[in-house]
Symmetry: C2
Subunit: 252 residues, 2 copies
């Protein structure tokens, strides 16, 4: 890679959900993951694993677990990024040390390592001309994904990336102004007026208005609370994930 | 920024703990965070906040909460990246929608957003010639950090980055070979022989051997289990964090 990066490069990146048939060479995939593995990691422990799924069989097993989002089958490769304290614990066991990572803090440390790796991989893949989509359903069906991928204890799937050469440009979905999320010295909580100002551009977008209309809601926020991320789902999948953290050995 | 990126750039990145006196212009800090905010985010909700600490007062309050790691005081700026469902929930409330994000899955989604933002900021800051160190003690003392930074409910500090112009080159701490963490199609669990091979380079490094000797241990793994991340600490800080997730309103 010899790639010229500008501010524009970072601000114009897009999620890509449609891919061409072009195959990603396995050596390139390994190289990009190797480069990404130099991202920061807790105590240099590298508390993650990445499962590469390219076979039709595995992807057909995974697709319903991601609610049949089409890119699970149409992408040449999907990667499941997992928090992993199994490998490190085995290393301890085989070296006269007693591992002690069956607890919440260890899960959190491995989750941080894992997401940092996924983001760095994302950046590197895009620099190599690939398109990426983050699939956020991984933690909803973690126990079933773990079964398909044969994950042992202390391994928790957190995020899935579909990867391929782009067959679309992707669209600009916009972001909040920076003062929405940056606080100086202390957290400044939001007044109704501030919220109105910070979200006005988002609410005024034509895709937002279309979203509200299509779903027959009165406000954009209602599309999120009533349709996209409603209470019943959030609570159901929270129970599933909490039980899985227990079964995986991270919490009692 | 107009910056030429090569493979070498990603593989030679280093943690930087010592900084020059050079000030980071506030406008640059905001610009880098704006660029980073184009990283992937769950449903485009941007479930994070970043607290910039540059005042002496706040950093002196934070330093003991990071066990007095010197860069908390010596860096020109420290950034605390927080999972944040407060802002989004307020937006819902002010828009005739009933927020429903007081649960584990919502915490996980916001944590993923937050760490992806932190990693993308890290990459961009390095491209701008800055040095960064990730401070992993944030979740150990989250309730006290929340007090200093005046974080409301549904806001959880996850990782702290110290940032400044480098006054050292940083050292190469090495990484495991890629086949340590990449699995094809299914997770392949590790045999004692495989673990031995995958960790041999790490164990043979002179800094590792020095670590073992200084701590009067028999193996490198024992340095981790007995000194760096021992059971008593892991379990104590797990309780603290679990209680904080409850107090912050993310779990019952």
């Amino acid at each position: 890679m010899n790639f010229s990066v500008t501010d524009q490069y970072f601000s114009s990146r897009r999620t890509i959900r449609r891919y061409s048939d072009k195959v990603i060479p396995e050596a390139l995939l390994y190289k990009m993951l190797e480069l990404a593995s130099h991202a920061p990691t807790t105590g240099n422990m590298q508390l993650y694993s990445v499962i590469i799924s390219s076979s039709r069989e595995i992807r057909e097993a995974l697709a319903p677990l991601h609610f049949n989002q089409p890119q699970i089958l149409s992408a040449p490769v999907i990667l499941t990024f997992c928090a992993d304290f199994n490998r490190f614990s085995k290393w301890c066991e085989f070296n006269d040390a007693v591992p002690c990572y069956d607890n919440l803090q260890s899960f959190v440390a491995s989750a941080i390592d894992t997401i940092a790796l996924a983001q760095q991989f994302n950046t590197i893949a895009e620099a190599y001309g690939l398109g990426v989509c983050w699939i956020g359903t991984t933690t909803y069906t973690a126990p079933k994904i773990a079964e398909v991928l044969e994950l042992p204890s202390l391994v928790v799937p957190l995020i899935t990336l579909t990867v391929g050469y782009p067959a679309e440009e992707g669209s600009d979905v916009g972001r909040l102004p920076t003062n929405a999320f940056i606080h100086s010295e202390r957290y400044q909580d939001y007044s109704p007026l501030q919220i109105k100002e910070l979200y006005s551009e988002k609410e005024e977008r034509s895709d937002s208005k279309q979203f509200v209309e299509e779903n027959q809601k009165n406000t954009l926020a209602q599309v999120f609370t009533d349709i996209r991320y409603p209470r019943a789902n959030n609570e159901h999948f929270s129970e599933v994930f909490r039980d899985f953290l227990r079964d995986a050995g991270f919490v009692k």
